[in-house]
């Protein structure tokens, strides 16, 4: 099968597009013919050898896919041949930037009929992470104020959308005026451009000095530091990632005085350890999708031959929402 293959740690250009053997199937796994694969920031870390998971060479990167089930492992019970599904990949069975992927049945879900391959391909990681973050980790309640950093990015846009569906007042932060419209379109009540305004001052002004109850932070760095200055009493600061490149430090006395929480969100282990809750999360979001409440935003697609270019677009922050690798729409 054709795949984008990582043979040594390096930048996107070091990926090699070539034929490799299809991965073997385990008893609790299913094989998919991949229709499309979602691109995520950690994919770029993984091929650079900077991610906590370091697969053995050679491997195809790509952490999520949509496709059709073509083979079912002996111990699988839920899925059958021909099912349209989305899944995260377990890197042991190879990633999604390939014509076939082998995934664990427990991580694999039938998708709503009305959802396109491209929408489905970019759904599991970002929506899965964000739902888990807001519900299980952030305990977001209707009428609370949710502040979303990097609101125009993949996970950020999901957080805006899901926060609104859950009844919160949503404030989004973005780095340029060009991104304000898309964040408003996804339902944000307010948008702050942090390159021209102080996040802390604006959040305080918008909340009557109370601060934000839940803060969704996939950015880190300065956004995190400012968050600790505008978090509400008993607020929850969700640590999703560090797209800014700087891992921040939280002074423990500030956490004490604010009576707040710094909450780590590590979705991968959650989905594996608590697969029943993970499945319930996904099924709730599928219902919302069918009710027209969720609109996965795919802003750019690239063919399988152009994964390096897709990664460059992601790293250049040219995109809003998701970038998807379009592999075989005809499935």
């Amino acid at each position: 099968m054709k795949a984008q293959v990582c043979k040594a740690w390096g930048p996107p250009e070091s990926l090699v597009y070539e034929d490799i053997a299809a991965p073997p199937l385990g008893s609790d796994e299913v094989r998919l013919a991949v229709a499309a694969a979602g691109l995520n920031f950690p994919d770029t870390l993984m091929i650079a050898g900077k991610y906590q998971v370091k697969p053995a060479f050679p491997f195809a990167p790509g952490s999520e896919v949509a496709g059709r089930v073509t083979e079912v492992g002996a111990r699988c019970t839920r899925l059958k041949l021909g099912d349209r599904v989305m899944s995260t990949t377990s890197m042991s069975g190879g990633g999604g930037f390939a014509e076939q992927a082998v995934v664990r049945e427990a991580m694999c879900f039938r998708i709503p009929d009305s959802m396109s391959w491209n929408e489905a391909a970019g759904f599991p990681v970002t929506y899965g992470t964000t739902y888990h973050a807001l519900v299980q980790r952030g305990r977001l309640k209707a009428d609370e104020v949710l502040l979303v950093h990097g609101a125009a990015g993949g996970v950020g846009l999901n957080a805006v959308e899901l926060g609104k569906v859950m009844g919160a007042t949503v404030i989004g932060t973005v780095g340029s005026d060009a991104k304000i419209d898309i964040v408003k379109k996804y339902g944000a009540d307010h948008v702050i451009n942090y390159s021209t305004e102080s996040i802390k001052d604006r959040v305080k002004a918008l909340t009557g000095d109370k601060g934000a109850d839940v803060i969704y932070d996939a950015v880190g760095g300065d956004a995190f530091d400012q968050s600790l200055r505008c978090i509400a009493w008993e607020g929850r600061l969700l640590v999703i990632g560090f797209a800014s490149g700087r891992i921040p430090q939280a002074p423990a006395n500030l956490v004490l005085l604010k009576g707040c929480e710094i909450v780590g969100v590590h979705w991968g282990p959650f989905a594996t350890r608590e697969s029943e809750t993970h499945r319930a999360n996904m099924e709730q979001m599928f219902r919302w999708y069918e009710q027209g409440k969720l609109h996965p935003h795919v802003s750019m697609t690239f063919p399988l031959t152009e994964v390096p270019q897709a990664m460059a677009a992601l790293l250049g922050r040219q995109s809003t929402g998701k970038i998807v690798i379009d592999i075989n729409q005809k499935l």
Binding site: F224, V239, F242, I247, A252, G259, G264
Partner: protein, 329 residues
């Protein structure tokens, strides 16, 4: 009335024991004739000007006391003259004095059978520990609770409350002499973090899983080590920094562990959510009546000896509480 007055930031010896005018309760406050006053580590920070609250001079320190209500301010509904109460002090009128002002909302009736000395040291440490474990950590029966500084005031309260809530409790102390008192108050295990790594000992006791809830009033290195032995979805309670060093949390560690770092600010909680705070004390009164809480008073000192008593407190050799009493003053 007699009081130990702080007139300038300084060490315990700079307190002045003298006659001062009787304080007056304001709206929502009560005045108590103090029978006994609990001593707390932050008292020593307060008089040195190193605490987050800095009352105007002169003031009597002392965060908590027990006594009899002798006057009530306007609007007070929960207490009458003659009631026996314990409570935390209003800013500037502390318990190192024959009379103290307490906010009505921070005061609680003394459970039957509790001595004045026990009651004097009950409100702050048990109030803090209960709030931390219940509202902040959501400690569940069957979980593992690690208490740092387990022989100290808040530490022993956390050990007792953790056991009463059905947790497996590991107490961590800095000296072998403190093992006995921590075990006596119900801990399942006690470890000495000066003779072995906290991380290794906790991992060994939890089959590598780590502690679900960590109660940290110590800070410094203990906080750093706690992040290495916290369970998946664990909660690290930031209660204080008795070690003197305020630690910083690398956010990526919180992410990788899927854990949370939870600030516990009891004073602000009690002021903002007085009904929950009062319900907490009602629950603790039931635990006390059932014999599950046994507030530990190591030693009492007369009020006039407060500077010496503070020095003794700073040695950290006494488990549980040190208390000032008025009768011998």
């Amino acid at each position: 009335m007699k009081a130990q007055m702080c007139k300038a930031w300084g060490p315990p010896e700079s307190l002045v024991y003298e006659d001062v005018p009787s304080p007056m309760p304001g709206p929502g406050q009560v005045k108590i004739a103090v029978k006994a006053a609990g001593m707390n580590f932050p008292d020593t920070l307060l008089i040195e000007g190193k605490y987050q609250i800095k009352p105007p001079f002169p003031f009597a320190p002392g965060a908590e006391a027990a006594g009899t209500v002798i006057a009530v301010g306007p609007g007070v509904t929960r207490f009458r003259i003659g009631d026996k109460i314990m409570g935390t002090s209003a800013t500037g009128s502390g318990g190192y004095a024959e009379e103290m002002i307490a906010g009505e909302n921070s005061a609680q009736p003394i459970p039957d059978g509790m001595t004045w000395e026990q009651a004097a040291g009950f409100a702050a440490v048990y109030g803090t520990s209960y709030h931390a474990l219940v509202q902040r950590a959501h400690l569940a029966a069957g979980e593992t609770l690690l208490v740092l500084g387990a022989a100290g005031g808040v530490g022993l309260a956390a050990v007792e409350l953790g056991k009463a809530m059905g947790a497996t409790v590991i107490g961590a102390v800095g000296a072998d002499e403190k093992f006995a008192v921590v075990l006596e108050h119900g801990a399942d295990h006690v470890i000495n973090y000066t003779t072995g790594s906290l991380k290794d000992q906790v991992k060994a006791l939890t089959a590598d899983k780590g502690a679900d809830v960590i109660y940290d009033a110590v800070g410094g290195d203990m906080f750093d080590q706690s992040m290495r032995c916290i369970a998946w979805e664990g909660r690290l309670l930031v209660v204080g920094f008795a070690s003197g060093r305020i630690p910083s949390l690398p956010a990526n560690l919180a992410l990788l562990k899927g854990c949370q770092i939870v600030g516990v600010f009891y004073g602000a909680f009690a002021a903002r959510e007085p009904e929950t705070a009062t319900a907490n004390f009602a629950a603790m009164a039931r635990l006390f009546a059932a014999g599950k809480l046994r507030p530990h008073v190591s030693k009492t000192f007369p009020l006039k000896d407060a500077p010496h008593a503070m020095r003794e407190l700073l040695t950290r050799k006494y488990p549980g509480k040190l208390v000032l009493t008025m009768d011998a003053a």
